[in-house]
């Protein structure tokens, strides 16, 4: 099981799901109507490390974070 958390304005409670790869996470999130529109604009972190590739194996307990468009300052 992995946890997916939605940061900032997405405003959705974390999901827990079975997934062995980020690709499987993506497939699942595309089916969530309140998350799907955010996917094209979100950066992704696995265990707080930003990732640039979907070829990342996931293990039990991993935490995936979606980071929507930012505006600090």
């Amino acid at each position: 099981m992995v946890t997916v958390e939605f940061l900032g304005p997405i405003g959705k409670a974390p999901l827990t799901l079975e997934a062995a790869t980020l690709k499987e996470v993506a497939e699942r999130l595309r089916q969530e109507p309140d998350v799907a529109p955010w996917l094209s604009q979100c950066a992704v972190a696995v265990n707080d490390k930003l990732v640039k590739s979907m070829d990342i194996p996931l293990k039990n307990g991993d935490r995936i974070s979606l980071l929507p468009p930012v505006c600090g300052g």
């Binding site: 940061l7 900032g8 604009q41 979907m54 600090g72």
Partner: protein, 148 residues
């Protein structure tokens, strides 16, 4: 050094502390940037969410980049509400050389706006509204929507 404050930054105290701590360490130049909430669009305040673990990693990579040039980087940011005319962001670079200070201040502040994991909301009539129109997707965004 990365500092997070609940609400407005105590700007004059921060600048004083930073200058007093560093002016005798043989840096020739200090540059600072302070961001202050403008009154526009009928807002009372801006409000900020920060995702600290990723902010710390991002800041640490900048701190090291500056340290490699002999320079010191410090920043402070607010979380929660910051009223109009108060300040939410302050940073300082201390450097032996002025060119490093001036160039890195510009590069750091621009990358901060584009890639620091901080979300901004307008506060209007007590409601918190995501500033989507002023926000920028972080580098690498869209990974999970990619078709392959």
């Amino acid at each position: 050094m990365l500092l997070i404050f609940d609400g407005p930054l105590p700007v004059t105290e921060l600048l004083k502390e930073w200058y007093e701590a560093e002016h005798n360490k043989n840096y020739g130049a200090m540059v600072t940037f302070v961001g202050t909430i403008r009154e526009e669009g009928g807002i009372e305040a801006l409000s900020f969410d920060i995702y600290r673990p990723v902010l710390e990693t991002w800041f640490e990579s900048w701190r090291r980049r500056l340290a490699d040039k002999g320079a010191l980087l410090i920043m402070a940011h607010s979380q929660g509400d910051v009223p109009v005319h108060a300040s939410s962001f302050a940073c300082a670079i201390f450097s032996p050389k002025r060119r490093v200070a001036l160039e890195m201040l510009d590069a750091f502040v621009e990358d901060f706006k584009a890639n620091a994991p901080i979300w901004k909301y307008d506060v209007i009539n007590g409601r918190r509204l995501y500033a989507a129109d002023r926000s920028t997707p972080m580098a690498g965004s869209g990974l999970l929507s990619a078709k392959e």
